[in-house]
């Protein structure tokens, strides 16, 4: 597993959802977590802090997860930043779109701590 101290940015417009994701991440031993409520504010966080890993929801107002992914990948500074997309069940076209845009992995809601752990492991072990 990667460094437990890495800084993870959780992006979701629903506070409860962020809390859940955070809770799961904490169960997995990650405690260094920052939050943003949409793509725009996520980019602001990225500019301010050195983030090691993004977990973002797809569906958000103002700037969606896929737009965030595209922006991140298009930037020189963040193009290799590990990015995990959270999508809803049954949205295979979203998954494909995300994968095409170089997402590191995706996870489907609702997910279990084990699933998330597996995805994170896949992202970081491959490195």
């Amino acid at each position: 597993m990667p460094d437990a101290n890495m800084k993870i940015l959780v992006v979701d417009d629903f506070q409860t959802m962020r809390r859940i994701v955070k809770g799961v991440l904490k169960e997995l031993g990650f405690t260094n977590i920052v939050e943003a409520d949409n793509g725009v504010s996520a980019l602001e966080v990225l500019k301010e802090e050195k983030v090691d890993f993004i977990v973002s929801d797809w569906n958000m107002p103002e700037m969606t997860g896929i737009e965030l992914l595209k922006t991140v990948r298009a930037s020189e500074a963040w193009k290799d930043l590990p990015f995990l997309m959270v999508t809803a069940e049954g949205k295979s076209e979203q998954v494909l779109e995300a994968v095409k845009n170089r997402v590191n992995n995706y996870v489907i809601k609702p997910f279990t701590p084990a699933t998330l752990e597996e995805k994170i492991r896949k992202i970081f072990d491959g490195k």
Binding site: M17, E89, S92
Partner: protein
């Protein structure tokens, strides 16, 4: 063409190389494969390389399956992928030679069988396996998550009501559909985590419906809107039910009939071609942007929509906020109140005036400045914009219209005006009532409006603004106004007035606030339930506010409601009765006078009245009421405060008027809560306690005596 062929050959060789390295679960590599296949497909389409189009298209699907984890046999799938690429290489290197048909046929056959088996499970199948194999979540024991979910979900649901109604006005506005969709989507997502299956199932179904609408496969009709509103209500009920202890069983909610409705709505899709192709979310957003730049034939509607979107973008700018328990907030404000009092006690201490020290007095003034500022700031914490309350009225008016067959538009302004948090709930019912009044009694039926030369759709304005120490809320309609003849007739019939010759127009209008008054000829479902405007008036008086009415027959009616800025402070007149000091809220006071001896009359030898201009007002001796010894025994030596409440006027007898003062209201505490005639207490500048008069209660006691 040759150029393209070379490009293709290079791309395919590159692919072959990648294939050697690839791991089935390396998503990034699969993504790159997918992109490669797409570009190969595109180039070959352009160049009309038929067989390559077919093979690369099929391989693309295969990669998609690999990404989505839908390959039945991963090993076989990847073998096929390799063979497909070989096939492509062959096509490209020997374009003129025919393929060995055996290779090709077996490739397609296996492709077929694999794809046949692995056909995407569709939108519904996945969740069942996903959630049943789920391990237990510690999160569900985290009560806070539930509480958060409830409040946040309710907020979202309330917020979308407005979007739904806007959607009704501009059914093609994608952003409205998206907002509504997002709320259901999010609730679905979170409820899945929290194992709230019924909520999950229902919100999922509504989401599916909205998704169809979003992708132009379902038209937004009035029926759809009605249904979505119903769905919002049902979800609200289901979610607020969670507040109960022990997470009650939601089985009392019948979602099946709603699910059936969704099915019906979905089946109602016309079987024609969809209006536009399936558009993913980001497609919608980008087409919107593209419209303004490229498409010169922008319609006015598109322009308006775009502008509206821009405005919305501005207004939804998320300021950083913190949620705080209201109890904590009230405690804080309470303590600040105490601090202000303590500060003023120190400052007014007589010992202090004997000390002649510049530094000390400077420091004390500094302390006073800070405490005053602190008090102002903490008071502002209680204030929230009326926006939410106002926006709820949009729904109310809409529902009223659809029930009564009238047409009316609610125009909001001043939604950012802030009112005391404690007032928000208290305002809701009276406002709903006034809205009903405006639509039911004010706005005419469409046919009648046209006949009268008015626009078919009526207009109701709901405004808020601050004026002096008050918040003013106005409701104005362009309906028929009050029918004074009918009001008088009714009032006489009910015995509310005996002699109506002397009544001015304003007084007649105000009759509608009398208890038991209701002029609606037809008792409708929504108004005229026997609850009249008197309830509204009482509600405002309870808030230490008042309602006034201005009506122009045939042209409309305007209600002006005044409420104090805050419930924590009252603007009062400080008076003295004997040794005691009382605060009378200023809104109730008409005037203060010292009557001449001949203006005091005793009726039947017991009831004292005072003549003020043309009317006789009963005198209420406050010292009798509160059992204190007065300084002045006779009304002509004392002062009379003319107070008005519930349309009645009485003269309150006091010893002396001390001054006008804003005081911080303190609760009397549970034991004294039910004491009539007093609404609270305050600590005066000199540290003494002053009681705040409840004029309403005082009038009741006086009338009963």
């Amino acid at each position: 063409m040759d150029d393209n062929a070379t490009k293709l050959a290079e791309a395919v060789d590159q692919l072959a190389l990648q294939m050697v390295m690839i791991e089935p679960d390396d998503l990034m590599a699969l993504g790159s494969l997918l992109r490669d296949f797409e570009s190969i497909e595109k180039i070959s389409l352009e160049s009309d390389f038929g067989p390559i189009v077919a093979v690369s298209g099929a391989l693309k699907k295969l990669v998609e399956k690999a990404i989505l984890n839908e390959l039945k046999d991963v090993q076989k799938g990847f073998d096929l992928l390799g063979r497909g690429i070989e096939l492509l290489q062959k096509y490209l290197s020997e374009p003129n030679e025919s393929q060995s048909p055996a290779d090709r046929d077996s490739f397609w056959k296996e492709m077929e069988s694999l794809e046949g088996i692995g056909k995407p499970a569709g939108f519904e199948a996945a969740p069942a396996t996903e959630s049943s194999s789920r391990e237990t979540f510690n999160l569900t024991e985290d009560g806070q998550v539930y509480t958060d979910f409830i409040s946040e979900a309710m907020e979202h649901l309330e917020a979308i009501e407005l979007s739904i109604i806007s959607l009704e006005q501009s059914p093609h506005d994608k952003e409205h559909i998206n907002t509504v969709f997002r709320a259901f989507h999010t609730i679905k997502g979170v409820s899945g985590f929290l194992n709230l299956q019924k909520i999950n199932k229902f919100s999922h179904a509504v989401e599916t419906l909205l998704d169809e609408a979003r992708n132009d496969r379902l038209a937004i009709t009035n029926e759809t809107i009605d249904f979505i509103l119903e769905a919002v209500d049902l979800l609200k009920n289901m979610i607020s039910d969670l507040k109960g202890p022990g997470r009650p069983d939601p089985s009392r909610f019948d979602i099946e009939s709603h699910l059936a409705k969704i099915k019906r709505l979905l089946e109602g899709i016309s079987l024609d071609e969809p209006i536009a192709g399936k558009q993913p979310l980001e497609g919608i957003v980008s087409t919107k942007v593209a419209v303004s730049g490229e498409d010169l034939s922008t319609t006015p509607k598109q322009a308006v929509d775009a502008l509206r979107e821009q405005r919305r973008g501005d207004s939804t700018g998320s300021g950083a906020t913190v949620k705080v328990d209201t109890q904590k907030l009230d405690n804080l404000i309470d303590m600040v109140g105490e601090l202000v009092i303590a500060q003023s006690l120190v400052q007014q201490n007589p010992v202090f005036s004997t000390i002649n020290d510049q530094k000390l007095s400077r420091d004390i003034s500094q302390l006073k400045r800070i405490t005053t500022e602190l008090q102002k700031t903490s008071m502002s914490l209680r204030m929230i914009p009326v926006r939410q309350t106002f926006q709820k009225m949009v729904r109310v008016v809409r529902d009223l219209c659809s029930k009564s067959g009238k047409k009316a538009e609610l125009v909001l302004s001043g939604e950012e005006t802030e009112i005391d948090r404690g007032m928000v709930d208290a305002l809701y019912d009276p406002l709903v009532h006034m809205m009903r009044n405006a639509v039911d009694h004010g706005i005419e039926a469409p046919a009648k409006r046209i006949e009268r030369g008015k626009a078919e759709t009526g207009r109701v304005d709901l405004r808020a603004y601050q004026k002096g120490g008050h918040i003013v809320i106005e409701i104005e309609d362009d309906g028929q106004g009050l029918d004074r003849a009918r009001i008088l007739h009714k009032a006489r019939e009910k015995g509310l007035v005996s002699n109506d010759n002397g009544l001015g127009e304003h007084q007649i209008d105000n009759l509608i606030f009398e208890p038991g008054f209701s002029t609606a000829e037809k008792v409708t479902d929504v108004s005229g339930r026997g609850v009249g405007m008197d309830v509204v008036k009482q509600a405002f008086e309870k808030l230490k506010g008042k309602v006034e009415i201005f009506s122009t027959e045939g042209a409309g009616c305007r209600f002006v409601m005044l409420v104090p800025l805050t419930l924590a402070i009252v603007d009062g007149i400080q008076v003295r009765v004997g040794e005691e000091q009382y605060i009378i809220p200023a809104v109730f006071i008409k005037e203060t006078l010292r009557p001449a001896q001949e203006d005091i009359v005793k009726i039947h030898n017991k009831e004292e009245v005072v003549r003020v201009r043309n009317s006789l007002l009963p005198i209420v001796r406050l010292h009798n009421l509160f059992r204190v010894v007065p300084q002045k025994k006779n009304p002509w030596e004392a002062l009379i405060v003319v107070a008005e409440c519930n349309g009645q006027q009485k003269g309150l007898m006091i010893d002396d008027l001390i001054g006008k003062q804003e005081v911080v209201i303190k609760n009397l505490g549970e034991t004294l809560e039910s004491v009539k005639g007093l609404s609270g207490a305050t600590i005066l500048g000199d540290g003494r306690v002053g009681l705040i008069l409840d004029v309403h209660g005082v009038f009741e006691i006086a009338t009963a005596a």
